[in-house]
């Protein structure tokens, strides 16, 4: 402005972090998963992701401009990330109108009504996804069989996911050893050659993203490791107790949306706890609830519900689980 000296309280220096950079790093970490999604599901993956991203950005812009009359903040990248993650939870043959409705619920209901970025208690992408699952159960549970660009879009051939196969099979009384022959091998599951939502199939791509996020200091190890660790321990116990009714832990971790959920959804800053101790408890809660839903519940997959349930406990955890302060005196000391 002028030649006047600037006076402000310390610190007078700022690090390189910014909200936008963090969000863009998450998008970069999701690129491997996007590439594998196109590789397996072809044009459907591109259409679903593009629709979701555009709808999310559009709804946030419209609400901020015309209803809230506040400055537009779509450039901070949070709606972009929500759009991509929402898409990655959907089957690649889902019609556009359902995606638009889901984006509306994710942005307008789950995020903007609570006050916008930073104020929502529940993960917006998951709220959108669960809403779509309950409102459009048929479309949301028909999973295209991966055939690359031959998969097509709404006309894709569908088949059951490994988790659904196991669930249905066990209900019909088939022994697990027989069912395991029908599902892809662990190697195939690791690379992503199985039915499922766009983003959840390729474990290898998601793990590359995880390493990138750790390296760029976007997330810490606590939540993904505690989700996967608690799931591994719980499923191991169940498997050891009854190998004919319960699948092995490797299957449980590679099947379904655990990796996507643990690495990208549960680690959402706004809806996860802030203190490392609390993060570990949160992750364990998600792992245990997921397994309970998978084994004893009606749905074949429980990660989305588990994360939303644990989201509800996060304000409580933030209020009561405090880090140990420097110089804090130990009680009875």
């Amino acid at each position: 402005m002028s030649n006047l000296l600037n006076v402000s309280p310390s610190p007078h220096s700022h690090g390189k972090e910014s909200t936008q950079k963090l969000m863009l790093n998450v998008v970069v970490a999701l690129i491997p998963a996007f590439i594998t999604s196109v590789f397996y599901f072809g044009i459907g993956a591109i259409i679903v992701t593009a629709t979701s991203v555009v709808s999310c950005l559009l709804f946030e812009y419209l609400i901020q401009r015309f209803i809230l009359k506040k400055p537009i903040s779509i450039t901070d990248g949070s709606a972009l990330v929500t759009g991509i993650l929402l898409a990655f939870n959907l089957p690649s043959n889902i019609p556009v109108f359902i995606i638009v409705i889901g984006s509306f619920v994710a942005i307008a209901v789950a995020k903007m009504t609570f006050g916008g970025l930073g104020n929502n208690p529940f993960n917006p992408a998951l709220v959108g996804r669960v809403f779509m699952l309950i409102s459009f159960p048929v479309q949301m549970t028909s999973w295209p069989v991966p055939k690359g660009f031959a998969t097509g879009y709404t006309d894709a051939v569908t088949g059951a996911t490994p988790l659904a196969l196991i669930k249905e099979g066990l209900k019909n009384g088939e022994p697990l050893s027989q069912l395991m022959d029908k599902i892809p091998t662990p190697a195939q599951m690791f690379l992503g050659n199985m039915g499922g939502s766009i983003g959840e199939v390729a474990a290898v791509a998601l793990l590359i993203g995880f390493v990138y996020l750790l390296f760029r200091k976007v997330i810490t190890w606590h939540i993904p490791v505690s989700v996967m660790g608690s799931m591994a321990i719980f499923t191991t116990i169940l498997w050891l107790v009854n190998p004919e009714k319960n699948a092995n832990p490797m299957f449980h971790i590679l099947a379904g949306g655990v990796l996507l959920g643990a690495i990208f959804m549960a680690t959402d800053y706004v809806t996860s706890p802030m203190v490392p101790k609390a993060m570990l408890i949160y992750g364990c809660g998600i792992g245990i609830i997921t397994v309970i839903i998978r084994v004893y519940g009606a749905y074949p997959e429980g990660v989305s519900f588990a994360i939303l349930i644990m989201n509800a406990f996060v304000p409580l955890m933030n209020a009561y689980i405090k880090p140990r302060r420097f110089g804090e005196e130990v009680k009875n000391g």
Partner: protein, 287 residues
């Protein structure tokens, strides 16, 4: 009617009756006796819970009024004299007569009069900038313009004017609760006795520096020259620490002091224009 329906009606009614009896006895056992007059007095109060009376809410004020021996020191500025009189009548006490007041800002240092000598870039909060340094100008007493008072006002009576950087108080909305007075870190807002037609005469300055530095920092600062003090026939003006102060209770609005002031630090508001005489008039500011 079928037996299922009869059984349902009978069992639900019995359940309801038993619950009602249990709830009645529990309510009686855990009942807290409260003076019924507290509810009566609370109904009179404006229910704004603004804290202007010094209590946490209207209920606490009602309790205090019922328990107090007299109304000394107790008043609801929002409800005013009529509410206090009514409360006094119900409780059989006497309400002291208190003059209505209104909030007034004792500073006129807009950038036009008070040049900026630095730029503040910290959090937009007057208490924070006040604890950091003297301020963006050379007057260490004047308004910092960050709007703590505007945020404290629960009655929409105070708004920052972006052109002057000073708060503007709406006389019709101000209820004299004192929230702005408490929050201003420089104690620039005063609750002054209200006059008819919202007329005001006050020294719009709080600068206690000697005349030279004060005037150098702000063109309309009070320099403590005492000319106003000398011309006042009603003993309403006091000079302390190089600063003049007009007591609103003693001021008779004779309008002599604003013309005497050499720096135009004294402001008169809502008066009819002066008849042009020999000298040029002091213009009314912030009209």
């Amino acid at each position: 009617m079928s037996s299922t329906v009869l059984i349902t009606i009978f069992s639900l009614s019995l359940l309801a009756l038993v619950s009602a009896v249990i709830l009645y006895f529990i309510a009686q056992k855990f009942k807290i006796y409260e003076d019924p007059r507290i509810d009566e007095v609370q109904a009179l109060l404006p229910a704004a819970n603004c804290g202007g009376c010094g209590f946490a809410g209207c209920r606490n004020m009602a309790e205090a009024l019922v328990k107090a021996d007299n109304f000394e020191g107790l008043t609801c500025p929002v409800g005013g004299a009529s509410v206090m009189a009514e409360a006094a009548r119900i409780l059989g006490k006497v309400a002291p007569v208190i003059d209505p007041t209104v909030a007034v800002l004792l500073c006129n240092g807009s950038p036009e009069f008070r040049p900026r000598t630095s730029q503040y870039d910290g959090a937009s909060d007057c208490r924070i900038s006040h604890s950091l340094y003297l301020g963006e100008t050379d007057c260490s007493y004047g308004c910092m313009g960050r709007g703590d008072c505007e945020r404290a006002c629960a009655f929409d009576a105070l708004h920052m004017d972006p052109a002057t950087g000073l708060p503007v108080i709406s006389d019709d909305k101000c209820v004299s609760c004192g929230a702005c007075v408490k929050v201003c870190p420089r104690h620039l807002i005063e609750l002054r006795k209200k006059a008819k037609k919202d007329r005001k005469i006050y020294v719009a300055c709080s600068n206690c520096d000697k005349g030279g530095p004060a005037r150098k920092a702000c063109n309309v600062a009070c320099i403590g020259c005492s000319k106003c003090y000398k011309v006042c026939e009603f003993d309403a003006i006091t000079i302390k620490d190089n600063l003049a102060y007009i007591d609103a209770k003693k001021c008779t609005f004779c309008r002599k002091c604003p013309t005497e002031c050499p720096t135009n630090a004294i402001i008169e508001l809502n008066f009819p224009p002066r008849k042009p005489k020999l000298e040029v008039q002091a213009e009314t500011v912030n009209g």
